[in-house]
Amino acid sequence: MSGFHLAPDKRTSLADAVALVHDGAQVALGGGLCARLPMALVRELIRQGRRDLHLVGSAHSIDVDLLIAAGAVKVCEESYVGFEQDLGLAPAFRRAAEHGDIEARESCCVTILTQLRAAEAGVPFLPVRGVKGTDIRRLHPEYGAVTCPFTGEELVAVPPLSPDVALIHAPLGDRHGNLHLDQPYVLDERFAAASRMVVATVDRLAGTAEVADAGVVIPAHSVAAVTEVPFGAHPSSCYPGYAYDRPHLATYIAAATKGGAELADYLKRFVRAGEELYRKEIDAERLSSWSESTDAWKELFR
């Protein structure tokens, strides 16, 4: 009856999980930068040909870029999209923004957080401290202004943000949808509370007792579907399981930078083929060697 999801068993196939995301949906992406990104869900969205998505989030990388490369995105309302100083600008994001193929409605971590909090607390607006004086406001005609009844000061007011779905990958979860994450949680707790539903993948499904011992970070009642997909965050990291796959990311960026046939090849080999073949292609086991020694860990980043 409420917005909570009370079914006792949320396990479903990856295809059925992603079928909960409709064309044009406002989609929050869990994780951040190149860690714990919901990549298996992203790939399945592409396989299902989803279109016109409105992405919201903080700082992201290949999740956003790949969706854009595949033509699934209409609006990108993230605070950052890129590969930092390591691999640089996000090629598909950059090209689509420069060509006007997407609306790059850049937002700010704090503003998005505040908008999620408005949705969580059921209030129709919240004030933010900053933004005034910057050009970010020009990208957001939906922002308003409000005068503090105590100080008389004018502040930027932002509307609630309640994504249709939050896509979250977790290392561990149970069939009810309880998810364990390691820190940093980034915005995932806020997404889970503010969104209509969480659609989750986990590297491993386990019993409730094991997940509770590890610590439930996203509770079952926020989660509509959960699917076990080993290496479901690859090529981003999902510690303690696996580190960031730098060579794979470089391969993607080369393909996405070239576009055309090279990009099509990447999509065919790593997306269209499905998750089972994907896992065979990526040689992901070596990414678990990070825990063997500091040298082994460093080696993964050379």
Partner: protein, 284 residues
């Protein structure tokens, strides 16, 4: 990505740059860097291991408090940076602290920076149809307003396209924007106090305008002049860029064995080497 480091009687520009950034931190400050900023990231850890042992260091994308990294990896949200941390802030906990003024210093860079320290990390050209779409500002458009002090840096001064008369898009606030000064906007953060480039060091005058205070010894004032798009105010004091100490260099090399900091520099800048002497070093 790796490269043998120079021995400690000599050092490279990237090493000195990181040390000079570290020196903008005062002890007992609460300091934060964003993601994608390895020079600032390494600098913060160098400061905490040398002159600012009681600073509070908040690691860029993990919000870990005073971690001791295993090594600095090339991506900011990585366990190698915070595996041993006693406490990690939540996302909202950090940004709230920054917004209420509990953070003393943040490091900020930009694809463009103007004379008032406003930075553009959003887009070059018309932002609605950009010539170059940059990555974006993270949390800067709020917290640049409220964090007490900012250290700006760029490693691309020499390009001539970075220090500009007007930013195409104002992502993060310096000392004043078209809408007014910080005081007029109601912000308690004081804006940037230092700006380091691969050519030299700037501070900011009372009107919020940048002023060149020191040059790296292999740089001439004319190099800066021709690379700077805004009016160049100058008041040199060579001691503001004094040579790195052995312990500072050791800290840089220990913390960043992969040389992640180097990714910020154009290849030619990485050839710049210095030794214990005054005046320009040879570019051998």
């Amino acid at each position: 990505m790796t490269r043998a480091s120079a021995p400690s009687e000599s050092w490279t520009l990237d090493e000195w740059f990181v040390v000079a950034l570290a020196r903008t931190i005062r002890d007992r400050e609460v300091v934060f860097h964003g993601f994608g900023s390895p020079c600032a990231q390494v600098a913060m850890h160098v400061a905490r291991q040398t002159h600012a042992r009681e600073m509070m260091l908040i690691e860029g994308a993990t919000y870990a408090v005073n971690p001791d990294p295993v090594f600095v990896p090339p991506t900011s949200n990585d366990l190698a940076l915070h595996q041993d941390a006693t406490y990690r802030m939540r996302f909202e906990e950090f940004f709230d602290a920054a917004a209420r003024g509990a953070v003393d210093r943040m490091f900020l860079s930009g694809g463009q920076i103007d004379a008032y320290g406003n930075t553009n990390v959003t887009a070059i050209g018309d932002p609605t149809k950009p010539k170059v779409k940059l990555g974006g500002g993270g949390g800067g458009c709020n917290i640049s307003a409220t964090i007490r002090t900012l250290t700006l840096w760029t490693t691309r001064h020499r390009s001539g396209r970075t220090l500009v008369q007007d930013v195409d898009f104002l992502t993060d606030l310096g000392h004043r924007s078209r809408e007014g000064t910080r005081a007029e906007l109601g912000y308690t953060g004081r804006g940037p106090d230092w700006m380091l480039t691969e050519l030299g060091l700037f501070d900011f005058e009372a009107d919020g305008h940048a002023r060149l205070r020191a040059l790296f010894p292999d740089v001439q004032a004319e190099d800066v002049e021709k690379s700077t798009g805004f009016e160049l105010r100058v008041a040199l004091d060579r001691s503001l860029l004094h040579e790195p100490s052995g312990s500072e260099l050791a800290a840089v090399r220990h913390l960043d064995p992969l040389g992640v900091r180097r990714a910020e520099f154009a290849p030619a800048e990485l050839e710049r080497t210095f030794a214990h002497q005054h005046g320009p070093a040879c570019a051998c």
